[in-house]
Structure formats: structure tokens, C-alpha cells
Amino acid sequence: MSSIGFVLVAIIISAASGLPVALSGGASRRGQAISALMLVAAGVVGLVGVLPVFASAATSSLALPWGLPSGAFAVGLDALSGIFLVPIFIIPALGAVYGLGYWHPADRPEDGRRLGLSYGLLVAGMALVAIARDGLLFLVAWELMALASWFAATAEAGKSEVRRAGWVYLVATHVGTLVLFAMFALWKATAGSFALERNLAIQPEAAGAIFVLALIGFGLKAGLVPLHVWLPGAHANAPSHVSAVMSGVMIKLGIYGILRMTSLMPTPDQWWGWTLFALGGVSALAGIAWATGQGDIKRVLAYSSVENMGIIAMGAGLALVGKSLGRPSLILLGMGGALFHVWNHSLFKSLLFLDAGLVIHETGTRRLERMGGLAKRLPLAAALFGLGAAALSALPPLNGFAGEWMLYLGFFRGVTAGPGRGLPVAALGAALLATVGALAVAAFVRLFGAVFLGAARSAPNDDHEAPNVSLATPDNGLAAHGKGKAGGSARLAMLAPMVALGLACIVLGFAPGLVLPAIGDAAGTWANLREGGRNLVGLADFSWSLPLGLALVGVVTLLLLYFSFAARGARKPGRGTWDCGFAAPTSRMQYGASSFGEFLGRNLSFVRVTRRKSRRPRGAFPAPGFYSSKTPDPVLDLSIRPLAAFAGRSIARMRILHQGQTQIYLIYVLLATVILLIAGVAPS
């Protein structure tokens, strides 16, 4: 069987993987287990099909008969598709295994059926998007992916918060699809067919219009600011393994769409690259700045996805500029960095979402202000979260750094060896990436600290704790089991996929050279350059990464051994933290997520809006004081919602015309006809 055949089989297995859940009524453990097994099998089959694409430059394609009047069932597999297919076949399979521990089917059979069916279809839709080589087929797959992800994300539709977020997502994704309709129509009009093949006959004006439409339509899915409005809500309210798939895999297909379309068109004008780069830069900076203010563990992760998509777009923008200038080193380093970051982000962001799910499962809340000190209860989860957070903050020697290192190398190379043009992109890119990196450290230290470090903020033995604030208040129905309910096997099912993802982050960080040829081939495929893999290996020499990683780990391990030896017996119960002489500190006096983000917010006020409410204790007999802060989304909460409310109010005024009687509507029809007649007659 050819490569593409394996992929198609994997798609069919994935699509069918919801059936065992649905047929068993949604409440059976066994149905869920069979479904997970099918997804793992689909992943293995799919990878068997995909991986050979990187070894040989050959592409594999297939055209099947299809009943629709125009369009064709044309699918193909090349290195660019392959880069995106690898996470599609890995992450959802791991997520399904995780779901065995996370999602108890017996509790909610209806939701379980919905989730099981849509999860499998989502995987199938995503894989089909990545291999579709025909405009109409692409749109069908795209819609399948969008709708399946909507059903999966709103699996807990019983909650109003979920329904609200789902509504925004549904509107956003269909606006995107509508724009893609326009884009493919234009493609058909200029290229002559829906076939997604390299077409150099496209006029520059049409190509520019297609690029702008692709940027909007695909940018909505990728979550580039200001088109990210649906992303935080949908990712925060979906079940955690669905968040992992959406954030880790699905939104990347927005990037894939942009890359696929730009690879098919003739040499781009410089403004294409500039625009994509600027959108990416804004997304990266705004996404991470907004992440520093969120009080919900999953919203922080969602906003950081906006940031990471921005970084990917910056790399792709650099590659586009390189393509217009005819500089292969910029193309390979920019696109290579972007594609490597696609993989890296899918690994550490899924890890973090799955870990967040475990935390929510344990504590029964998503609110950071109620967490703290979980590192003692969940040591492995804490270590994995720290690993994922460090990888996401692009810290050496992990995979996030390896990816961004390539991007920096591209930017530096643009600065040192460039003729004047394209240089501002490079210089701005390096400075922006540095700022974003520092802010990522800030956002993730805040998150890691608020969730896992210090003391539990609402421990039962805390005297000063108000009785009505306790861990038992479930913000998320999943945790209705209460805290710590996850038994041994459930805990194992949740932890095993996380360990696998964490190991992958380490391996790709220590030895990025393993995957560099594949990434280079994909970058070469995108730009129609030969020997992309070999050239990229020449440009980005990773021989330092393994010695560096070993040196770091070695020195740190030695020091930790020494410290543990020196500190043996020093950590006694009752030896609390020294709070500068204050005798009775409580866990509520710790720096929490909002206090940690407060100083940041004051210095980020150029991009982040923070609403604060507080009452200080005053006078001799002070009333209880309070402080709360909120970071609304400037696009959704401060622009679109007020505008929509205003439009709604204005339109409501027209309600006077609606009397609900058929006769009156018939009179309107008559009036309209008369007016049209007059209008039609008047000029003559």
C-alpha cells in the first residue's frame, strides 16, 4: 500500500473510533477503551504512512471518483503535509488514552457519546485537511474539522459558560469558512480549476487578493490577533484533552492553510511577508501579555497559544520575505524555525493542557487563586508542568529553545549578511522575540508558582480561611468526584501520555538534529527548493545541543545532590518560611497569581487592559477589604461585545414594525413592491 493509502486508512479508523462509545450508550468503560485503542491504532498506521515521506523526497497522491459536479477527491502527501500530520496522529491518540482517566463515561453518558463521536471525526477532519489537494474537498474537510471540534469543545453543553464560549467559536469559525469560500472561488476563477497545484499563471493582483483572504480565513483558525477572539474561551471550556488537541494540533492547520496557499502561488510581493510577520509579532506580544493577567489556568495556556502561533507566523513571515528577496538561508531558517515550532508547541502545549486537566480534576477548580502547593500532592505532575513551562518559555536545553534558536539565527543572519531590504524584519524580529521570551518566563513562572508552589491557598487547616471558600466548590463538573478521587489506574492513564510528551520535549531539545532533515525537507517543499533538509542542516548546526544539555544537567544534578546532602534533616515540620519576623503568616498572605501579575500589568499597560476593584480596610474598626483584578480581552470584551450590544439595541428599536400578524407582513410586501415599482419607473 502506498503512503497515502496508510493515511486514508488511518482517517477511516479515526472517523469510526467514536462508534464503540456511541453504540455502547456512552456510559461504558469498555466502549471508551476500544475507542482509545482505535485512535492509537490509527495513529500508528498514519505514522507508518507519513514518516517515509521525509526519507524520500517523493510525494504520494491519489485521485478517487467523486460524485459532486465540480472538484475531485484528490489527495496527496508531501513533506509539508507530513509535518502537520505527525502531531495529528500522535497528540489525539495520547489524548484519548488520557481521557480514559480524565473522563468518566458513567457520569454523563449523553456528553460522552457526543464527545466520543466528535473526537474521532475531528482527527479524521484534520488529517483530511492536511492531505486535500482540491479546493472543494479541502472545504469539506475544513468544515468537518470545524464542526467536530465545536461538538467536542462543547461536550459539557450543560454549562452556560461552555455554551457562551461555544457560540463565539461557532460564529468565528463560520466567518472563517465564508472567507475561505471566497478565496477558493477566486482561485477557481484565476487558476481555472479547484485543483490545489502549483500554479504560476496566477496574476499578481489575484494572488495578492487570495493571500489576504487566506490570511483572514486561516488566521481566524490559527488565532492570530485580532482574529483570536474565539480561542481563549473555547480552549478554556473544552474538556482538557480536547483543549490539548485543539491547541496543540487543530489551530496549526490555520498556519498550514496559509503555508499551502503561499507555496502554490508565484513569487510573493514583499508586503506578504511583512504583513504575516507583523500579524505574528502583534499576536506574540499581545498573546503573552494577556496571558500574564488571566486568573484561569486554562485561559493562561490558551493565550500563550496565541503567542506561539504568533511566533510561528513571524518565522513564516521571515521565510516569505526571504522568498521575495531570493535568499534561501532566510527561507530555510525562517520556515524551518516555524515548522519546528509547530511540532514543539504541539508537544509542550498538549503536555500543559493535560497537566492542567489533572490539576482541575484534583482541585475541582480552574481558578488560580484557589490553588497552590500542589507540588507536594502531585510531585510528578508538578515536575512535568515545570518541564513543559520551561520548554514553552524557550529555555535551553529543551525543544522550545531549539526551535526559537533557528528563528533567531534567521533574524541575525538577516541583520549581518543582508542587503538593506528585509533587514528591519530581522532586527525587529530578534528584539520582539527577546521581549516575548522574557514575558513567557514571567507568565509561566506565575502559573507554575500559583498552581504548584508555596502552600495551598485554601487548605482546610487554614484558620483565616472563610468557610465558604474551599476546594469542594467544583467549578468544573468533571471534578464532581471530589478531590483526589482519581484512583491508581486512572492516574496512570493520565500521567503516562504526559510523561511521553515530556520525554519528547527533552529528546527534541537535546538532539534537534534528529528531526532537522525532515523539517528542512518540508521547508524546501514549501519554497520549491531542492535539498532543503541537507541545506538546513548546514545552516543550523546543532552539534552544541547535546553537550550543552549534558553539561547543564550534570552540574545541576551534582549541586542538587550536594544540597540534598547538606539539607538532610533541615526540613522539619513546623519550620515555616521566614516572613521577615511576622509571627503568624497564613497561606493567604502569599503572593498569588493576581499579585504576581500586578506589577507586570502596570508596566504592560500599553498592551494589556486590567480592571481593578478594591476596598482597603480603613479606620479603627475596618470592614473587610477586598481586591480583585481582571484582564478582559481587548478585542472580544472591549470591542466586539460592546459593538454587538449596541447593534442589538439599535435593531431592537425596529421591533415596533413587528406586530406578529400575517396581514401586516403582507402589507409590507405590497408596500415594498410598490416602492420597487416606483424606483424602477422613476428614472425613465
Binding site: 529555555l395 528584539a431 522574557a438 518566563v441 547543564l552 515555616g576 503572593y591 508596566n603
Partner: protein
């Protein structure tokens, strides 16, 4: 070979002496006799012999803070060239690794601070990460300017400059780069006017407040690592301020050490004649560094 050995001896032994010089300069200004130059080394040795108290709130993260900060500064220190002596480990793109190693250290020191659950240490961590996002782009733009000047992508090439030395036409950008780097050194090494290592009030500190709970060997390692960071960043600054090479190894080493002493004296003088900025003024100062290095870049490529 000898040069490499000298490099490592200097990296390990000299940094605490620089702190001793700073303190001596400050005492001279204040009219005191002052501690011996080797006092920091004595403190470290004393701390290493002491026992320690560890809060029961903490986990392994608390221990990882000092461990990672020492490991990262040692590696960063072995990547930069000292005076005309090249680093034996240089590679294309090491300049990015260099900057991100400090990010790695920051991740773990601030996490270790939050691990204690103390409000003061949380406050210090919050300030540390906030100021970092202002200094990082300044540092990167400064390095980018130097990379543009030298046409090189590795620290050896970037810091040693173009083959024939910097041309006089690039004097203006270089002055601005030196200013930016100077501010970065003061901020990253927690010196006045950004942070006051000797204040008695925890509320006003950044770096020192983050390590309140570390004691004994942990604190000794932190002190040592902080001094090495000062040494490494001063080395970078020296490449811009004192780009000379006599050709004779012994003289070059002397020039290099004299330069480090001069930077320490300079920092001591600044600390003696300036007060610490109010916390909300610090970001302006750091933005100044960003403006300097940004302008330097613009001047260079205009």
C-alpha cells in the same frame, strides 16, 4: 592551553573579588576602612561550613534555584571571550544561547522564591520577571548591533569585532551600545540604582529578597553565582569599552583583569554617589537602555 586554564581559574576565583572591590570603594567613599577585598570569598567559605534551615513549605524547586543559577552562569561564562582570548566552545548562534541561559536561571530563581510561599519573596520574583522583559530586548539589540558591525554570528566574532578593529565611523553606535550594556549590567546584577543589595528593608529589594529563605551552602552558592554573573556581563561590557590586544598573552591578561577592576570601581562609585530609584522609576531607566541600543542599531543601518 595555558590561556584556557587561566580562563577557568579567573571564572571561578575572580568574581567574588570584584564584589569585594565594589564594597571597598563604597566604604572609602563613606569614610570607613571597609572589609578586606577577599571578604566575599570568606563569606562563601563560612556559609559552606554552616548548617541550613529549610522551610517545610518548600520542595525540590527551592534547591533547584541556586543549582541552576550557578550552572547557567558557569556555562555562560565559558562561552564569552575574555579580552582577546577566544572562548574554546564558541559556535554559530552561541550568542542566543548566552542570553537565554540567563532566562533559564531566572525561571528557577523566581520559582524557588515562589516555592517558599512568602509574600516578600513573591514580590521580589514579580519585580525580577518584570524588569527582565525590559532588559532582554536591550541586550539583544546591543548584541545585534555588534553582530552587524562584525558580520559574525558567534560570540567570539561578535565581541572581538571586525578583523581590523572597529572603524572610527562606528564610534557613535558603539558609545550607545556601551551605555545600554552598562545599564544592563547594573540591572541584571541587581546593583544601585535598580536594586540595592545592602538595604535593610525587604520591601524595597529585588534580588536579595528572593533569596531570603536560602541559608548556609545554598546562600553561599547564590552569592558566588551572582558574582560570576557580574563578572560575565562586565566581560561583555569590556569588549566595547576596552577593545585592545597587545599580542603578548601576559600583558593581555593584565589588561583584562585591570579592566574588570575598573568596572568594579565604576560600579562602586555609582553606588556611592547615587540613590536607588523608586521602584516605579526603574522601568524608565531600563527603557533608556532599550532606547540606547535601538538607536545604536538605527544609526548603524540608516
Amino acid at each position: 592551553m595555558i590561556d584556557t586554564i587561566v580562563r577557568f581559574l579567573l571564572l571561578l576565583a575572580f568574581p567574588p573579588i570584584m564584589l569585594g572591590i565594589v564594597n571597598r570603594v563604597k566604604s572609602v567613599f563613606a569614610g570607613r576602612k571597609g572589609p578586606p577585598i577577599l571578604q566575599t570569598w570568606r563569606d562563601i567559605a563560612k556559609l559552606a561550613r554552616k548548617g541550613l534551615v529549610v522551610s517545610s513549605t518548600t520542595t525540590w524547586v527551592f534547591l533547584a534555584g541556586p543549582a541552576v543559577s550557578l550552572a547557567t552562569v558557569l556555562i555562560a561564562g565559558s562561552l564569552v571571550p575574555y579580552g582577546p582570548f577566544r572562548s574554546p566552545f564558541g559556535f554559530t548562534g552561541d550568542v542566543i544561547l548566552f542570553a537565554y541561559l540567563f532566562g533559564l536561571a531566572r525561571f528557577f530563581t523566581t520559582s524557588a522564591a515562589l516555592d517558599t510561599g512568602s509574600a516578600f519573596e513573591g514580590m521580589g520574583a514579580s519585580r525580577e520577571v518584570t524588569f527582565a522583559f525590559l532588559t532582554e530586548p536591550a541586550l539583544f539589540l546591543a548584541l545585534l548591533t555588534l553582530a552587524r558591525l562584525s558580520g559574525s554570528l558567534d560570540l567570539n566574532g561578535i565581541l572581538l569585532g571586525p578583523a581590523g578593529g572597529f572603524s572610527s565611523a562606528t564610534a557613535a553606535p558603539l558609545v550607545l551600545v556601551a551605555l545600554a550594556l552598562g545599564i544592563v549590567v547594573l540591572a541584571e546584577c541587581s546593583r544601585i540604582p535598580v536594586d540595592d543589595p545592602n538595604t535593610h528593608l525587604e520591601l524595597t529589594m529585588i534580588h536579595e529578597v528572593m533569596v531570603l529563605d536560602h541559608s548556609g551552602p545554598l546562600f553561599g552558592v547564590i552569592t558566588w553565582a551572582a558574582s560570576i554573573k557580574f563578572f560575565v556581563l562586565s566581560t561583555i561590557l569590556l569588549h566595547v569599552l576596552l577593545p585592545m590586544s597587545s599580542g603578548n598573552a601576559a600583558i593581555d591578561w593584565l589588561i583584562f583583569v585591570a579592566g574588570l577592576v575598573a568596572v568594579s570601581v565604576g560600579v562602586g562609585v555609582i553606588e556611592s554617589i547615587m540613590a536607588r530609584f523608586r521602584m516605579r522609576r526603574v522601568p524608565w531607566f531600563l527603557t533608556g537602555a532599550l532606547l540606547c541600543s535601538g538607536s545604536a542599531f538605527v544609526l548603524l543601518v540608516r
